[in-house]
């Protein structure tokens, strides 16, 4: 991810190598990379599956999604999301969710177009690195076929704090 341009986008979080390796080790099927004919990295998606089946909270989670600027407007983000949703369906997930900065209007709108809705707001989820205030996140969800009554996406009436997330 460090030699492509997708992580140079200021809205893409760059984590440490151990973070990426943990995902590769635990959830390799959710780690998908798109490569252009010339070998350039067009974009990638990382995810995982977690949550209690008994509480109907077993779900797919989008940890990171990024498309390099040169490869935008090709429907790639939608395609990567579709693949992640498909894998989550196969695993019997009830829904797919993700966190996105409240200020990232472009991303929020994109996810809405893909069928996601805001489930709850998480206060100060993103910590700023230089003395600026932390930023809130939207927890957006899309119900999968196992959630027949679409219970998982009924929005919460109040925001939560990061400590309250399961």
């Amino acid at each position: 991810v460090f030699s492509s341009h997708s992580n140079l986008d200021p809205l893409t979080e760059t984590y440490g190598i151990p973070f990426y390796l943990q995902y590769l080790a635990h959830w390799p099927e959710y780690f998908i990379v798109a490569e252009a004919p010339g070998g350039e990295l067009m974009g990638y998606i990382m995810g995982k599956a977690e949550g209690s089946v008994a509480r109907e909270e077993w779900h797919g989670h989008v940890t990171a999604l990024s498309v390099a600027p040169e490869f935008r407007r090709l429907g790639l983000a939608a395609k990567l999301m579709e693949m992640l949703e498909e894998i989550s369906e196969r695993k019997g997930g009830f829904f797919v969710d993700l966190f996105v900065r409240v200020s990232n209007q472009v991303a929020v709108n994109m996810y809405k177009q893909l069928g996601y809705s805001v489930y709850r707001t998480v206060i100060e989820y993103y910590s700023a690195n230089n003395g600026e205030p932390d930023e809130d996140a939207y927890d957006m969800r899309k119900a999968l076929s196992r959630d027949t009554e679409k219970k998982s996406i009924i929005p919460l009436p109040h925001p939560v704090r990061p400590e309250d997330i399961e």
Binding site: P10, P37, R72, N129
Partner: protein, 485 residues
Amino acid sequence: MAARGHVQDPNDRRLRPIYDYLDNGNNKMAIQQADKLLKKHKDLHCAKVLKAIGLQRTGKQDEAFTLAQEVAVLEPTDDNSLQALTILYREMHRPELVTKLYEAAVRKVPTSEEYHSHLFMAYARVGEYKKMQQAGMALYKIVPKNPYYFWSVMSLVMQSISAQDEKLSQTMFLPLAERMVEKMVKEEKIEAEAEVQLYFMILERLGKYVEALEVVQGPLGGEEKTLCSSKENSGLFPLPEMRSIPDDWQFYLLYFDSLFHLIDQSWTPPQEGAHSAEGEVHASTAQALSFMEDRIATEEAKESKHLRGPYLARLELIRRLRERSCPEAQQLGEPLELMFQFFVKFGDKPCCITDLKIFLDLLTPDQHVQFINRLMEAVPLCAPGEDGVALPGDTRALQRHLCVTQLSRSLGQQHALNTEGKLGLIKELKAHYQHGLQFGKSCLKTELQFSDMYCLMAAHVYVDLWLETGDVWGFWTPNTSSTTP
């Protein structure tokens, strides 16, 4: 995106501020806070380690190390200390110390899934494959989750790959790995695609191609099956798979690889029966040509949302046929014309540049100028202003113009200009950049502007000039109203 922060949220409120200072790069305050804390609670190990991290980050390696060892020697088993020590050792590039850390933790808490997991990762960082194998199985015994079992299998494969003695690899490591996977298959415990891929890899390395093919064609094989089956020795690449997956470049490449492989082997399809388990197989140039024509026709018939793959694949086929001196290459068309048509269809998308770049070598040098001129004709520009620069009227036209300009640079046309020419080019690029900013007025501060690439290119031409003449030609004069990061 998940929140950043490689350190888990500490339960202890007292440590929180120190973590914050470290995360913000304020090492001095972190050390100070840690000291304050240690005066009151001198056994708060984690605070010592966090202080050590602060020391390490301010260059006081030895002091940091000594302090850390004070804690390490006590063999801590609290999450905070373990994590903090791991971070410290990582930053000191001493990954082997992390293994010692978790070996001790695991001795004290043998039922901890988490410590065993960290131990496995610690071994992985230093490439201790045998220990990884053991750690994997130990994990599996604590919690029988498939990944742990297969981490063990994987470690065996790694031992086989890194073995000095090839015989050991073939007679011990791989067969053991094979038996381990077979056990899971028999007990119907296979869960993930990756597990099947690992199985396939093991069989391949053992040279058991027939068995490998059987695995992939049998009930375990999933969507990856065709990719795998065509890679191995027989090289047959059946057609039906191609049609089902839209626009996968890999498939085109494999198709061509397999096709030419079969042609070179003079393979002929059997008189009766299927070519292969999955369907028809192509093994002649004529079949490839007609397949290509079919794919293009399907795309052309669509009203919108054309896929780039077939058009690029056609160019790739031309390249391969030319490499093999096949006259049939000409039947597919003239590259210049085909690339022009591609530009007409996809020129307003940024990827057009990288797509076409790889096929520029299909043009002869004396076609370069003609090619660029042809492309430029297809760029809708407004009438030139008084500075003689014709500008685009909207973002699509801008992107097209940008594409042609970048391709021209790839072909070396910008480098070929003399000093005066280059200076003129810079002026033009700057004009395009400034003009293009109007389209991006609604762009957020964090987004790229549509015309940013012009600015970058102008900078590159300045560098070209400097390399040639040693002069900086006003490079450092700031551009006005530039918000480019």
